[in-house]
């Protein structure tokens, strides 16, 4: 008797449509990404700045005189997130470059779109992957550092005047994660190769930063910072955490406007690319 005689049966149960439909997309993509050991190593490496800052707080609580050359205050969190932004770039490249590009290459996008899912569900599902990874290396260590600071040095941090730290960590983490994730997804949707998409994302960030540096060297104008996403994110960090920034920064409102514009442009690219695939393939 053929094997299918024994196995196939009709499946009659059919419940109502799910309200949250993107979750399987996010979960499966995260599972595949986190199955790579080197990616876990990268995530672990992203925890190093957190460890360094914890040691810094510990040293200052043990040796208060160290506070003079290792100041421990709200800026500590801004510095942590500046480091974490660097890690989000690599995590986004290695975790996110293939998210849409691979679906385009292997035709898997039709598996998604022929199901009871909207294009929005698909984009949110993919975005959820990068947001989860990026928030894990920005928001999580940021808030954990705040808790560590409160417990190790309550006299330094348990103050009403420093209550802005937690909301600032949340705001900066969200800004870094959302912008990086959207740009990476948009770049990924423009290629069928994860490598090309990864290089494109890296080139875009570095290229714009280099261009900003050259233009600033030529014209000495702070508006040149509008060109670079990292400079815009740094400008937000300066405003939120009161950092003394080495590089040139913009007023935060300009930086925020630029980041919002870039995010909207990325969403439009994604909308157009996913639609184009439906029609062309």
């Amino acid at each position: 008797m053929p094997i299918y005689e024994q196995t196939y049966r009709r499946h009659e149960a059919r419940g109502p449509l799910r309200r949250v439909r993107f979750w399987p997309i996010t979960r499966e993509a995260l599972r595949l990404i986190l199955a790579r050991r080197w990616f876990l190593a990268l995530l672990a490496a992203a925890g190093l700045p957190f460890v360094v800052q914890v040691i810094r707080i510990y040293v200052v609580t043990r040796f208060p005189q160290a506070n003079q050359f290792l100041p421990v205050d709200g800026r500590l969190f801004g510095e942590l997130l500046a480091w974490q932004a660097l890690f989000t770039m690599f995590i986004t490249i290695f975790g996110g470059a293939g998210l849409v590009a691979n679906d385009l290459r292997t035709g898997a996008i039709l598996v998604y779109l022929s199901r009871p899912l909207t294009r929005r569900d698909y984009v949110i599902g993919k975005l959820g992957v990068l947001l989860a990874l990026n928030l894990a290396v920005t928001l999580l260590p940021g808030l954990m550092l705040y808790l560590v600071a409160l417990s190790l040095a309550p006299d330094l941090f348990w103050k009403w005047s420093l209550a802005w730290i937690a909301p600032a960590v949340v705001a900066q983490s969200l800004a870094i994660s959302i912008v990086m994730s959207l740009v990476a997804l948009a770049v990924s949707s423009l290629s069928r190769s994860a490598r090309v998409a990864g290089l494109g994302f890296f080139g875009l960030l570095i290229g714009l930063e280099v261009a900003r540096g050259i233009l600033y060297a030529l014209y000495r104008r702070p508006e040149t910072a509008l060109l670079s996403l990292q400079a815009d994110l740094r400008s937000l960090g300066v405003a939120l955490f009161g950092l003394t920034e080495r590089a040139v920064t913009l007023p935060w409102a300009y930086a925020a406007a630029m980041l919002v514009t870039v995010s909207i442009a990325c969403l439009l690219i994604l909308r157009s690319r996913v639609r184009a695939v439906e029609i062309v393939q």
Binding site: T7, R9, G15, G98, T106, S114, P116, E278
Partner: protein
């Protein structure tokens, strides 16, 4: 009583920008297996994509299970299993995980999707290979995975877009046997979109032939290919030009076959006309065999180049 159609379309027009892909087509897909035939660019895939709610008609209407795919695309898609023509899998995923994932995307609870994925993979003959990543599969196995992901949620209607693409003859026969089994024994309705007439002939009861964005022919294959008129396969010795011209003058049509000519007689005429015409044209009839109109004949006639004569 006639069965209610699963899918109905009336005066349907769909365009890609300035290119009209479907020009006012009307028809219906009845329960059971239906073939969708046509050359490349005829509008077959466009119809499937309109059915899935990917494309919005400019004019006309399309309803599936009584639902409007433009307004209720999710409700329609959950009742359809789609096996695309192009390769589709998720890199790094095993077949079992991939098919279960497809089930979840269709709205099945995770546990149910996992158990169902194993069943369906056994059904398509991949039970032993289900824990291998799909990337490592042969073309035939990838086609089977595509069928499994389309079946996992047990759809009411299965859309198969060129399911035998890239398969060797043995693989093709196995795939067609599976498709037939789904249709005949599991009572699942399906639309088989193909340019391979034999695939459609083997599996389907009904057929719709598309050409240049229009329905060129439709109906039961048995009715379309029945003995409506006499057909003869003829081989002659000598210069056939005059013979063929004379046949045409008598209202017969012909087309060149692999080894001779296929002659479509006009009503009421029999083989004696072929012998008489051959004698008059000075050629010898070396072979004559009565035949029946095949789906290929119907297809070529629908496309407008049945007969050269």
């Amino acid at each position: 009583m006639a069965e209610a159609p699963l899918v109905e379309f009336k005066d349907l027009c769909v365009s890609y920008g300035p290119v009209q892909a479907l020009s006012g087509v009307s028809g219906a897909f009845l329960p059971g297996p239906t073939g969708l035939l046509g050359p490349n660019g005829a509008g077959k895939t466009t119809l499937l994509k309109t059915l899935l709610g990917f494309l919005e008609p400019e004019r006309g209407s399309l309803s599936a299970f009584g639902l409007d795919p433009v307004r209720q695309p999710l409700e329609v898609r959950r009742r359809i299993g789609y096996m695309p023509e192009v390769d589709c899998h998720l890199p790094g995923m095993t077949a079992a995980a991939f098919v279960a994932f497809a089930g979840e995307l269709s709205g099945m609870p995770r546990d149910e999707a996992v158990s169902r994925a194993h069943e369906v993979l056994y059904y398509v003959g991949l039970g032993e290979a289900r824990y291998r990543t799909v990337d490592t599969y042969s073309t035939g196995m990838k086609q089977r995975v595509k069928l499994a992901q389309a079946l996992v949620h047990d759809p009411d209607l299965l859309l198969l877009d060129e399911p035998t693409n890239g398969l060797d003859p043995a693989g093709r026969e196995e795939m067609l046997a599976l498709v037939r089994d789904v249709s005949d024994r599991r009572q699942m309705s399906l639309i088989l979109c193909s340019h391979l007439l034999r695939d459609v002939e083997q599996v389907c009861e009904n057929v719709i032939v598309f050409n240049l964005g229009r329905v060129a022919a439709s109906g039961r294959i048995a009715d379309l290919t029945g003995p409506r008129r006499s057909v003869y396969d003829v081989r002659v010795k000598g210069d056939p030009a005059a013979f063929l011209t004379d046949l045409k003058d008598h209202g017969c049509e012909w087309r060149e076959g692999e080894d001779g000519y296929r002659v479509f007689m006009s009503d009421g005429l029999g083989p004696e006309l072929i012998f008489r015409t051959a004698r008059e044209a000075g050629v010898q009839v070396r072979f004559l065999r009565p035949g029946a109109e095949t789906l290929e004949d119907v297809f070529l006639r629908a496309l407008g180049h049945e007969a050269e004569g």
